[in-house]
């Protein structure tokens, strides 16, 4: 199970729970599993999120693989050089 941590305000959409253990093997699956647990996340995972998998930050990478012992962080997207929202 990958350990998934929501950074920043994302935790507010899951009723304060910011850490999960999920069996996702891709970023796409991760989003689906999280949204099933907490529908309030809804479209917040569609855009504006960066995913760090074992220390490497990915932006807009739905098919990126997640390992069984991976450490995953969901962060606000860094659109550096342009004002993030």
């Amino acid at each position: 199970m990958a350990r998934v941590v929501l950074v920043g305000n994302l935790g507010q959409l899951t009723g304060g729970i910011a850490e999960f253990d999920l069996p996702a093997t891709t970023v796409k699956q991760l989003y689906e599993q999280l949204t099933e647990l907490h529908p309030a996340l809804g479209h917040h995972l569609d855009e504006g999120i960066a995913v760090a998998i074992d220390g490497q930050i990915f932006q807009d990478a739905l098919f990126e693989p997640i390992g069984p012992d991976s450490e995953v962080f969901l962060l606000p997207q860094i659109a550096g050089g342009s004002t993030p929202v």
Binding site: V5, V7, G8, N9, Q12, E47, G48, A52, D54, G55, Q56, I57, F58, Q59, D60, A61, E64, E71, F73, L75, P76, Q77, I78, A79, G80, G81, S82, T83, P84, V85
Partner: protein, 761 residues
């Protein structure tokens, strides 16, 4: 160190080649935004609100429309409203409800300079006269600019539908606080209990402008079939295309945008101002429309960065270990939400390995222009505050400030305060590099001070599309889609030359328009060399595979009998006795006969951007009689991963450092009580000139980024992050006074010295 794909030592990457666009730039031939003209063009001008906050009751354009020579007038009525929703716009999140209102005011004018109407006329003089004939009825409202003032519950309200996001329960009343965000790690209160020294300070910074020398410019021509062509000086022509298509209800494919040469951006040219107006005017007038901002308009109506208030509290043990870091950031967003408080929050403690961290940030609207990005948005402000407190800790504990940072430095495997662990990074290397300089040990006299600070920026990758085409004479045409703001074409040409094994001057790079390539995210985030070079490697791979396939057909050989290396397809083993290698030039001559044109397109969403850490060292001298500060000596050490072109990497270090010097010592937006900008020109908005600064020594550190084929890290933004802290620390050493407000301009320094009775040499 990553393997290079051609397996041989590089010959151009890492050398100081002359840039391919250089001759046109030193002869005046290069065409920037306002250098473009079309036959029959009209001149467009914008009418701007004189009030910082006012309801727009009515706009009567009839007298302007009647003036001979005026061919079109537009107002809010010419732009359909946009619903409030954050949607991707060329890969960024934009709320078009805000964008359409910033481009042309609707219900309210929200800052002095806010666009209220625009005209297109046959001459500048007529356009100016026409603006005077537009009658706008304003209901002037009380205004608020300062961030703390704007957060008060009784502050004048900019948007009655803005409810603070990120607080629970959701507020019942609207306010000027758009968002509250926070990151947490461990328990700071417990951390402070363990600390032997705790230092808490509050800092204040003023809004500053990116200061690009070239004002915004756009030229648009609209066709009857609903298509439009636009030339604009921008950091992201695909983003401009997305915004214009959305705001004007056009198909993306019908908007063709050419990025002209750009005279500076630094983040300020990543959004639209004139472009939608020029297209709308051209659509109405049925003629091309050219629009250029004046310098005053640039200051008043583009996107200076946030002014802010930052409170920092740090705790350390007496041995110098940081145990707790707290910060509260309040950033101005300008008229609409969206300050860079998020990256400010994430960057604040990023250089350090601290067990307990808690950072809170507020995004606050106020009656000044909407912020646009400015080089590492948000980070210079928060890291200025933290680096100042780190310095005080060093003094209190009597520990060398570089050693203190070294002791607590983030390293590979350190968990960043914003979550993930760092991969290989170069902070330690930059600290060591600074300590080894002659600068570090140079003697200082009275009223001189030395300061050091470190800084960081994440860097990004993003969607990139680059094409490589081998022409029939063996020259290579390279088309990239990220505007070149600092010498990018030199780096990309070097990579293409090395990948294909062709001479550097046989590679001709251009920046293609939006019709010529797939989507490219903008030039920003320190991404263009990182992503562009990655895409070139992809495109070159395709070409090499293609040439090997052609060779196999020509030589009637199997794939394992040939390989591409050093600019040619080479026969392996026994085959080598029958045929000779064929170079790229050889294939070019027979391209048609062997299958058609030779080329490749790299289409990627570049991932794996590695952060760049930097440490700056500065010596300065204060004149106690005038409060004037002279920068005596400046050294930058920063991790570039791998410098594709050392001179242009050094250039980024030096340019960012000098912008930081300006921010620290002189630059600020000065508003009157009336909410109007008092220094909207280069005379009184005082940026550094050549006589203000010394040579900037640049030390290139290279800790390769394992995720990039050449080890590249973006470098453009990090250089502006450490200077504010380094200079504030040097000032503290020179004067004995800790300045917690920027800029540390002569009047402020003199006053502080006088208050302490120190204003004598």
């Amino acid at each position: 160190m990553a393997e290079t794909t051609n397996g041989h030592s590089q010959s151009y990457v890492g050398t100081r080649t002359v840039r391919p666009d250089g001759h046109d730039k030193v002869t005046g031939r290069a065409r920037f935004g306002s250098d473009f003209n079309l036959a029959g063009q009209l001149i467009g001008r914008v009418l701007r609100s004189p009030h910082p906050h006012a309801r727009i009751v009515s706009i009567d354009t009839s007298r302007a429309e009647a003036l001979p020579g005026v061919k079109a007038v537009i107002t809010r009525d010419d732009f359909g409203d946009q619903p409030s929703e954050f949607i991707p716009a060329g890969e960024m999140m934009m709320n078009y409800k805000d964008v359409v209102r910033n481009v042309m005011a609707r219900e309210k004018a929200l800052y002095e300079g806010h666009a209220v109407a625009a005209v297109a006329a046959t001459s500048v003089a007529i356009a100016r006269r026409a603006l005077k004939l537009i009658d706008v009825t304003y209901e002037v409202l009380p205004h608020v600019i300062d961030v703390v003032e704007a957060m008060r519950s009784d502050a004048p309200l900019l948007h009655d539908d803005l409810f603070t996001v990120g607080v629970d329960p959701k507020p019942e009343k609207p306010s000027n606080i758009a968002k509250r965000i926070e990151i947490k790690q461990g328990d700071v209160e417990a951390g402070f209990e363990k600390a032997d020294v705790v230092i808490e300070r509050e800092f204040k910074t003023a809004p500053v402008h990116q200061g690009y020398i070239e004002p915004h410019a756009a030229l648009a021509t609209f066709s009857e079939d609903g298509s439009t062509e636009l030339w604009t000086t921008t950091q992201g022509h695909y983003i401009v295309r997305a915004h214009c298509a959305r705001l004007l209800g056009l198909d993306v494919g019908k908007v063709r945008v050419t990025a002209t040469e750009i005279g500076g951006g630094f983040g300020g040219k990543t959004v639209v101002y004139l472009e939608p107006l020029a297209i709308a005017l051209s659509r109405k007038a049925k003629r091309p429309v050219k629009m250029v901002m004046s310098r005053e308009e640039v200051f008043k109506a583009s996107g200076p960065t946030s002014g802010a208030v930052v409170r920092v509290k740090m705790g350390a043990t007496k041995d110098g270990k940081f145990v707790a870091g707290f910060a509260e950031l309040k950033y101005q967003a300008g008229a609409f939400q969206g300050s860079p408080v998020q990256p400010g929050v994430m960057c604040a403690y990023a250089p350090y390995d601290i067990e307990h961290v808690h950072v809170i940030g507020y995004d606050v609207v106020s009656n000044r222009p909407k912020v646009a990005a400015y080089r590492a948005p948000g980070a210079p402000i928060s890291e200025y505050a933290v680096e100042s407190v780190v310095d005080e800790i060093a003094k209190t504990l009597d520990i060398d400030p570089v050693d203190l940072r070294m002791q607590n430095a983030a390293r590979e495997g350190t968990k960043a305060a914003y979550g993930p662990k760092f991969g290989p990074i170069g902070l330690e290397e930059t600290l060591n590099a600074i300590k080894k300089t002659e600068h570090w040990n140079a003697p200082l006299r009275k009223w001189q001070g030395r300061g050091v600070a470190s800084g960081f920026w994440f860097n990004i990758g993003g969607e990139t599309c680059v094409s490589l085409t081998v022409n029939e004479d063996g020259t290579v045409s390279l088309m990239a889609g990220t505007p070149d703001i600092g010498g990018l074409r030199a780096s990309l040409a070097a990579v293409a030359a090395d990948e294909l094994g062709v001479p550097y001057d046989k590679v001709r790079p251009i920046i293609g328009d939006t019709a010529s390539l797939g989507f490219n995210f903008l030039t920003g985030g320190s991404r263009s060399a990182f992503s562009g070079s990655m895409a070139i490697v992809e495109a070159a791979k395709q070409i090499k595979a293609d040439l090997c396939a052609r060779a196999c057909k020509l030589w009637e050989a199997k794939p394992d009998q040939v390989e591409f290396s050093d600019g040619a397809v080479r026969p392996l083993g026994a085959l080598g006795e029958k045929v000779k290698p064929m170079s790229v030039v050889d294939f070019a001559k027979v391209a048609g006969k062997t299958g058609g044109p030779i080329g490749g397109v790299g289409r990627i969403n570049a991932q794996g951007a590695g952060p760049s850490f930097g440490t700056h060292l500065v010596d300065l001298e204060v004149d106690p009689e005038t409060g004037r500060t002279t920068i005596l000596r400046y050294t930058v050490a920063q991790d570039a991963g791998r410098a594709l072109h050392p001179a242009y990497v050094e250039g980024q270090f030096q340019g960012g450092a000098v912008q930081g010097i300006g921010w620290a010592l002189n630059e600020e937006y000065i508003y009157g009580e009336d909410g109007k900008l008092q220094n909207a020109g280069f005379l009184d908005y005082r940026m550094p000139v050549a006589s203000d600064v010394p040579m900037i020594d640049a030390i290139l550190v290279e800790v390769a980024n394992p995720k990039h084929p050449y080890g590249v890290r973006g470098v453009g933004e990090t250089p502006i992050v450490p200077p504010l802290g380094a200079i504030a620390n040097a000032m503290a050493n020179a004067t004995g006074i800790r300045f917690t407000e920027l800029p540390m301009s002569p009047p402020k320094v003199l006053k502080a010295l006088k208050d302490k009775g120190l204003n004598r040499a």
